[in-house]
Assembly symmetry: C2
Homo-oligomer: 118 residues x 2
């Protein structure tokens, strides 16, 4: 059985699917409207929507005739929680890079100061 997070990441590994999510973050919309900005066929869009639906990233209303698509927050929150575990790691890495660059700048400034001495 594939875990939820793996299904979510797999669903996010396509630029068209991410563009669909970006559009849905602005509000519910029909499949027809969703397909308009893309130069791909309606069956392709439907295929992408099915992947997003299986991952729980979108839901489609059964009530209305036009079956609007809606973005769901829970899987995005799970991704955010997962990546948050690595924040300390990259902040530490970035700080070390900053320290290194500062050391280089100090060295460079000293070199120039020595050159300027009579």
């Amino acid at each position: 059985m594939i875990d939820h997070l793996s299904t979510t990441f797999a669903a996010l590994s396509d630029p068209t699917r991410r563009a669909i999510l970006a559009r849905l973050a602005m509000g519910e919309t029909s499949v027809k409207e969703l397909a308009e900005p893309f130069s791909i066929s309606a069956p392709s869009i439907t295929k992408h929507l099915k992947v997003l639906e299986r991952a729980g990233l979108i839901t489609r209303s059964r009530d209305a005739q036009w079956r609007p698509c809606r973005l769901e927050a829970a899987p995005l929150l799970a991704v955010s929680d997962w990546i948050e575990n690595y924040r300390r790691f990259w902040e530490h890495r970035m700080n070390r890079l900053d320290d290194y660059l500062s050391t280089l700048e100090i060295k460079e400034a000293r070199k120039h100061a020595r050159k300027r001495k009579p």
Copy 2:
């Protein structure tokens, strides 16, 4: 050509690969050490490492004989930036849920208050 973010998400869509990253967040390590906690073959681990390496999530040193693996920050930062765009969306959604639950609680409290009246 597949974009960087898609390659990163595809690499993250596997629990073994995510476990490898979690281990590497604690420090550099050899492939042998990495493989120990997993009940899968060395060639399988090597295959997973190649996927992570192609996504830029890890690098392997060419210097040392034991070629240590090292976690890289940049692709994780890109994922964090991407998910950050949706923060406003899910916070708004969660606030609406909170409002709804508060309304339910108020209704429930009123119902009980009416029942208690003589």
